[in-house]
Symmetry: D2
Subunit: 334 residues, 4 copies
């Protein structure tokens, strides 16, 4: 359901046009310093408002701490952070009930919840909830500082609209009056070997599980990924070159047998083009039962992938923090 | 850890060279007819012994039911199935402790478990445990027959060694004296709309979680997947063409907003080349601290991807059965 | 940690003197009608302010719905309810850090969380959080109306201060200037047979698990309970008297073999006397390392057991609702 | 369902008259020495065969290790232990389907599983499965040796048939030709303070959860327990007597605010009289629909409580081990 994690656990709640979206993080080590300003950089990256192709909601995105924080440190009790929704324009969405937006969750949400769902702006399925994921990421990155070594988790958009030159890809979207997708790569340096579990909770399993909770992600590959399927085994195996364990390649992407192997953990995700495109599209009017032409009028990104890297970092940092606490690399109390 | 699922839950155990491998399935509806012969077809597909490029262990793979079955029907109590290991040749692996096989879990398992792991034949990380997954799949497919409609889950190797012609790909491996990878596609027909949960337990999340527990899988993509990242939004959205909901395309792969949408659920996985290749490779001798040349002498597949489809079907059928029970499409007692 | 349940799941958060306490209920069926006024009766019962022996905080206890409610019905998405803390008087507790209150969690919380805990008014361990449990109970009772039959869950204080006459027991406390404990009995009528699981999730296991999350509970017994230990088997067994299954006794308390048996589910809990008693008591001053005399100055109940019944009903209704959804007696969507 | 625990997790399976009963323990630290002879003492205590009033099945109770053990040490992979059922006499139970035994799970199991359950000898609900719990206890006690300090978990029958003199209580049963119940006390010495979680996973919650999975338990109380309900607060609070934290009383039973407080953890459980009594009793013949007289012919204990202490130690040791691993008092790898 709407929770994830074992030693460290998140529960997410809220809707695009409700009073707030929020997240509860349970199992957080006690004593981690945390204050509202720690969230600014990553919340800004998520908003991405200054980049051509992004036109986000003008939300303040100031975290409100309902619990779990005392004298600017985590207490070990559940930490609940909410972001109030100030800038909702429900009128944009009044017709949405009848005309599900192509590519969105509108139709499936209605099928699942029998029409009781909050359909305004995607409701609980809205990208607005990724603000909560980013908040969990800010905290996770803080906790990671208490692990041995120097763990750095960073994600970057490496392709947009089929172009390796991001600006060119975005321009393609602007010129076409259409939306485009992209590919985001995430690299985590400094991890110890042995994280993950042999079978169902392999490092790849846990990462992919949470990564597919990010809206618009449709694929993930680790290390050589899909190109591994075209290699010979002798090419793909990362041969050890000297007795310090150095390898020339990292086709495994830092994971062997489901466990981290001490090399950089590397994976890429495919982000589909924003479903809300300015182009006219066919869809079903549920009330009339007729096919209608539909085009998006509200504020929307031409390339949602621009805003994904910080969210990807966040969920990855979260799942690794959970693994590191479980493996006792991070203490329960500072 | 070594369990997965909610309403239907599996726990897996065993090692390649222990006395048996096994699986416990908890939450199975009561009254499902089940007998040993039901397992033959899928266990044979997994062994894949007759296909060029596969040289599996000669195990009987006869399921032994320790619990949960009475008068050839499931009882509702935990169902434990084991497969005895008869054909283990530990002598093949005696040197394995010192010389971890490139591309295998040997090194990371040792790092995780401090050298206490059963290192013979990959131990708990062995592909031998996929026999248990296939067994869970046989049961899941049986249970699926009690869901409404006609749910069919089938997987197929669609590329081997970079070739769409599978035989050609395998021949490439034989000719090169090397191993090759492949791509397996899985299609599930007949699913109701609305399976999955909005955030952390999206259909993609749950499927990818369990799929990455299959050894050698390094990527997964749903519907258009990675090629979606190169499309315009107007191309990618599956436009509804008439008022029965028909769409011309299925770029979403049957999942919208993390929920099944009633179309075919379609995904592909990348299987890396078998790590055990007959080619000589460099690896570290942990005892001597020197780099050595290593080549595989034991029985091994040139293209493990040939044996993956039935395992992929199994885990997919399992996770969908779990979702269908949770969503009350399948009763707890027949 | 701070969550409980499977098909229906709660997560609790908040501190006595933080901005709010709250609860997220995940897995709630879609379409349940719910509004703030539904909470009044049970929130009033919990406050218990008019009864002699109770002197609760003067909180408004008005539920604020952050998510999961739309047009006065549950949406199927996580439902988060908070209660703001308006009436906190931190000055009462300034010395609490140094002088842990006897019988309270002050000392153990500090040992667990290394001094980072919010120590004001018991922090996350405060009875204030039972407001959240009561809220979950209000919702659960609503959901129970959608189960077949007529399920009624009611709890009553049956003994206070060792007296069956409650008023007499309370007067004993007032006269002694001390606090007293009590015994609360809970009866659930109308349950179907077969709820619970054979082993670890027996009906007794699940109920006792959540019941011991209520502060001050130190014992639980089902049916004849501790007196069963003094009976002969022929006395204890509930003999069937006629072919409609009627029994003269209900020593099993409605649970046989861990499963509900269709009779009334009956259990009793022991509530210790309020730890905060006006009497002077010895305790350790952590700062000085000296033993000091301590007596409670703030507002406190003489008999916390007076306020427990509605909380007990709430957690019991919750766990039974979870079991009924799992057993498919209650639909996921109305 | 049939699993329990977080960092350390057990899954139980098997039926009284199936081929075996067994348990899988996942999350066990790697490197714990373990061999079959370690189980003898506790398995013997469970059989209790030499004591008057116990007439157990003559099973060998030799643990068979299917997985997770290598060179006589745990590997960190799931450890599966089975006990073969050799001494089953199904003929005793042939009429059981029609005539559910009073006080047993026969009727409720049939109601839950629709008649598909293995009804022979109680099937999955049989006390036979406590052999698996004891096995988990043997391992847990071994693991506890790797925690700091000296943790000792011991349980004792302190009352039988209402008599503090156990032999007298048993004689009462023999004289009456009836079964009797008893009270078992469990004391755990040497625990660190701070184990347990604030709300749903209080130490009392977790212990009571697993304790009620032991057949025939109908009540539990911690410290002063039910007698606390009759005390004044000034009596019940365990006043600190000197600055080393010494208290004269232990009414809290070693748990304050749901967390262990460093004192002895003390609790008692009520065990009902063996349901199978030699006395004639009324029950319903499901086939004929008539009330019949029923008396037990097979082997059965007159006082099942005699055999409970070792089972109680086992489940308590298990849950405390789980808490100690979670709190990082015990390492994942020796």
């Amino acid at each position: 359901m709407n929770h994830f994690g074992t030693a460290l656990r998140v529960s997410i709640f809220g809707e695009s046009h409700g009073s707030a979206v929020g997240i509860t993080i349970d199992g957080c080590p006690a004593g981690i310093p945390l204050k509202a300003s720690d969230f600014e950089t990553d919340m800004d990256r998520r908003r991405g408002g200054t980049h051509a192709g992004t036109t986000p909601r003008k939300e303040d995105d100031i975290p409100v701490f309902l619990s779990g924080l005392f004298n600017d440190r985590t207490t070990g009790a559940p930490l609940t952070i909410i972001f109030e929704n100030n800038n909702t324009r429900s009128s944009d969405y009044e017709t949405q009930r009848d005309i599900p937006r192509p590519g969105h969750a509108d139709m499936t949400a209605s099928q699942k919840f029998g029409g009781y769902e909050d359909y305004r702006g995607g409701g609980h399925f809205s990208g607005r909830l990724t603000a909560c994921l980013v908040a969990a990421g800010v905290l996770s990155k803080k906790i990671l500082q208490y692990a041995p070594g120097d763990i750095i988790c960073s994600a970057m958009l490496i392709e947009a609209g089929g172009e390796d030159d991001i600006e060119k890809g975005i321009q393609k979207a602007i010129d076409a009056g259409d939306s485009v997708g992209g590919i985001v790569e995430c690299i985590i340096q400094g991890l110890p070997a042995g994280l993950g579990e042999p079978f169902f909770d392999s490092a790849e399993s846990l990462i992919s599980h949470i990564v597919f909770s990010i809206p618009a992600v449709k694929g993930i590959e680790f290390g050589a990924g899909f190109s591994a399927a075209k290699m010979f085994g002798s090419q793909h195996n990362d041969a050890i070159e000297n007795n310090s364990g150095k390898t020339r390649t990292n086709n495994a992407g830092g994971i062997s047998g489901g466990l981290t192997n001490g090399k950089d953990l590397v994976f890429r995700i495919a982000v589909k083009p924003t479903s809300s495109t300015p182009k006219e599209q066919q869809t079903l009017n549920k009330r009339s039962g007729e096919i209608e032409l539909f085009s998006v009028k509200g504020r929307h990104d031409l390339c949602i992938a621009l805003r994904v890297p910080v969210v990807l970092e966040a969920v990855t940092a979260f799942v690794l923090t959970d693994l590191l606490i479980n493996a006792q690399y991070i203490k329960r109390v500072l």
